[in-house]
Symmetry: C2
Subunit: 470 residues, 2 copies
């Protein structure tokens, strides 16, 4: 199939890099991978309890998709701006998909050039400067706010919600209800409760779908649909990849294979995973992946309660840009990385490099070539150079970037993460390490019930002036 | 002085983290740091040959600044868009400064709200989709293109130049000259040569100033001035920091101290440097720093020709956003990082969180607080939590973000990098590791003189189909 992604790991193998992976090492994982396929299959059947209900998303959403599409049409007819209020998994997916599938300067286009779709803003921080700046550039009357939080208790998102609601009420009175859509739990949490009194249009974050695995549920699908993206094709792509990643044969299952390679790499001290797309459209896939990989695999305890302090640090990169920033380190620095190229065979534009300056050979050689040839040559050349430096790279290639291939790519990374978590024997789906900071924030903000934490903060050994300069 | 940056390394020290740095370890570097101050002072005097002429930039540019300011005024009067064609150091600085000092949605503002300044686009890639997209959103007649490349032979930038020039000529005839400004070498290279026949307005990249150290020369100052930024204050800030970083006493010199700490950290296996600003305005400082740190310190050989494969990998992060993405890994994962918070005491906006929902305690506690309190509490709480997890953090605090403090911050990182390079005994200012990829690109693009490289590429052992899935 033309649309099918390709996964190339030649330059991880000992055939091509001195300290590379051997066929024997891979063979040692054959049985384990087949077992994990069974484990994941069992978890899939109990998705709500095992937090693997994201595996159902490619199949279970026909009615939801229709609701999203008709809601999106209504939004397009009435609003100029669509503002996502969300953070983490509620923001990174929508940003990545928008960048991948819409015009790179989408918000700068006229509404006509946007096919009538609203501008998109994703507000994933609580910086007061940004909050103020947002309201400088949108007419709130013509703005739909999509508040996304499963629990309804995410302080950042709920603060934003309170602000947007307050401004809307001041401007629109009771009609403010029409300018807010919530995406939250079906019954639990603050937002679900609020919806009983304030009848906002509501979409559900399904049970068993964690934030970082939520792009293919209404969290991501609504913003995408509102901006004209073919969400059915995204889900079809995810379903294609799901079938591929059920394969028990390690050598035919890219998610299992890529996960196994990362486990081997971590064992050899490669504690950094660089994501290096060669397309501006895929730039924020690296950000989305960074959450998925870091939060899923960065764990103190394994499933047996042993302290392991595992996790590989994701690094967001972009070609060709980072050839002028990071590639010096990648070629000459320590062998502490797995670098994953994401390549595109066919860009959605073809732009010629005009000629000129026949008397300047170091310029005139560009004549007759396209930017397409230039970026593809640079990608090939960089892969070549990093391999020549005996560092570890592999690559994923999309024939072109569209909703289908993007759905495949997102789902692939989710499955790679799922396999990696099982191989590492850790809980892929929790994030206990953020509780301490959350609770300390509550304490500092004076939330009832956090008085003991506040006392703990107050009794902390004070910093020493001798360790401060300036 | 109110504006002065503060540098806090309490949470790197063994007083606060178990495996932390001891006072004795720091003391061991006192003499070395004093010696390096002498080395840097000597290099400063021979800046052109030692590639440390960037140390003069805070002092040497009075006439240049006047030229930039009057040029910027002329541009504002005539143009709606200012497009930087550049990559690496020619792009990362302009992006970082614009984000730090101008409105976060600057390009979305009306020209009036931009004080008459043009929109800014920095085109730092050759993705054909992006090249096409750019010309969808700008009227080239009303656009000034700033082509930035010292050598005039950077393929990416010169391809962009050829395209812009071709389009401008087709639209404006001979008047295209007025829509291009070049920033390049004074006498050497293609662009300097071209300027003899095509009388573009030209600014100089001074000798002895490498790309990643060029933000405070016309490379960065012109785009900043065009967008209304106070470049004199930036240079004043840099001069303040320069004085501070001449201090031979390790305990009073933040650049030396922070560099020493990174060297100690690398020695203890902390091969990752996370830059974690708590302000959207400072987000792209992390990108700019990533080039500076990676390209300067990621080196195969030391100054004695010994193979060392050194370098610490920079990671770009942003608070509070990444608390929902990376902090799980930072607290629970391996102790392989130094995390540098960048904090802001006083944001340039103050936004209240409105009340509501007195019956929902997990919401109503937000009432009466500001977004300012929320982000500062989260920063404090995150620093607390990561310290509680016994991971290494330190922090830089700006009283507020303005041109002066930003100049200090940029110059500080340049000096920290300079000290680190001396401590590591490597060449901080070259980038030999990118030559292989550049030459391979030339070969693939058919540039004369690269036939041998092309033959080498063609004779490379082909990839094996067995290591490809899909």
């Amino acid at each position: 199939m033309d649309n099918r992604l390709s996964f190339d790991y030649n330059y991880l193998m000992s055939d091509f890099v001195k300290d590379g992976i051997t066929k024997e090492e891979l063979a040692g994982y054959e049985k384990k991978v087949a077992q994990i396929c069974d484990v994941l299959d069992a978890k899939r059947k109990d998705g709500i309890n095992t937090l693997t209900a994201w595996m159902d998303l490619p199949y279970s959403q026909d009615a939801i998709v229709e609701d999203i599409l008709s809601t999106a049409d209504a939004i397009k007819a009435k609003f100029d701006n669509f503002v996502v209020l969300g953070i983490g998994g509620s923001a990174l997916g929508p940003i990545a998909v928008q960048q991948a599938l819409n015009h790179i300067y989408y918000n700068d286009l006229s509404k006509e050039a946007r096919n009538g779709c609203p501008r998109l803003y994703v507000i994933d921080n609580v910086d007061p400067e940004r909050m103020e700046a947002l309201f400088d550039v949108i007419d709130i009357e013509k703005t739909m706010f999509n508040v996304i939080t499963k629990s309804g208790s995410t302080s950042e998102t709920m603060s934003q919600y309170l602000l947007a609601r307050d401004l809307l009420k001041a401007k629109l009175g009771d009609k403010y209800i029409e300018n807010i859509i919530v995406t939250t739990d079906e019954v639990k949490g603050n937002l679900a409760k609020i919806c009983k009194d304030e009848p906002f249009k509501k979409f559900i974050v399904p049970d068993g779908v964690g934030g970082r695995f939520s792009e293919l549920c209404p969290v991501g699908l609504l913003p995408a649909a509102v901006c004209g993206i073919d969400i059915k094709a995204m889900l079809q792509g995810a379903a294609i990849m799901d079938e591929i990643c059920k394969e028990k044969n390690l050598y035919k299952n890219p998610a299992a294979m890529f996960a196994v390679q990362q486990i081997i790499a971590m064992g050899k001290g490669k504690n950094i995973s660089v994501m290096l797309p060669y397309a501006d459209s895929l730039k924020y896939i690296a950000d989305w992946y960074a959450q998925l990989w870091a939060e899923s695999l960065g764990k103190k305890y394994d499933n047996d309660g042993v302290i392991v302090n595992k996790g590989q640090t994701p690094v967001k990169s972009i070609g060709v840009t980072d050839q002028h920033s990071q590639v010096q380190l990648y070629t000459e620095g320590p062998s502490d990385k797995v670098i994953t190229f994401i390549g595109v065979e066919n860009y959605r534009a073809s732009v010629e490099i005009p000629g000129g300056y026949d008397d300047i050979p170091s310029l005139s050689f560009l004549k007759g070539h396209t930017f397409n040839e230039l970026i593809l040559s640079e990608q090939y050349a960089t892969e070549y150079a990093i391999n020549a430096a005996q560092k570890w790279t592999r690559s994923i290639t999309l024939s072109k970037v569209n909703a289908n291939t993007l759905g495949q790519l997102l789902y692939f990374f989710e499955m790679e993460t799922a396999f990696a978590g099982e191989l590492m024997n850790i809980n892929t789906y929790d994030q206990p390490g953020v509780e301490e900071g959350k609770n300390a924030t509550y304490a500092l903000m004076g939330r009832a019930g956090y008085e003991a934490k506040k006392a703990e903060l107050d009794s902390k050994q004070p910093k020493k002036a001798e360790f401060v300069i300036g």
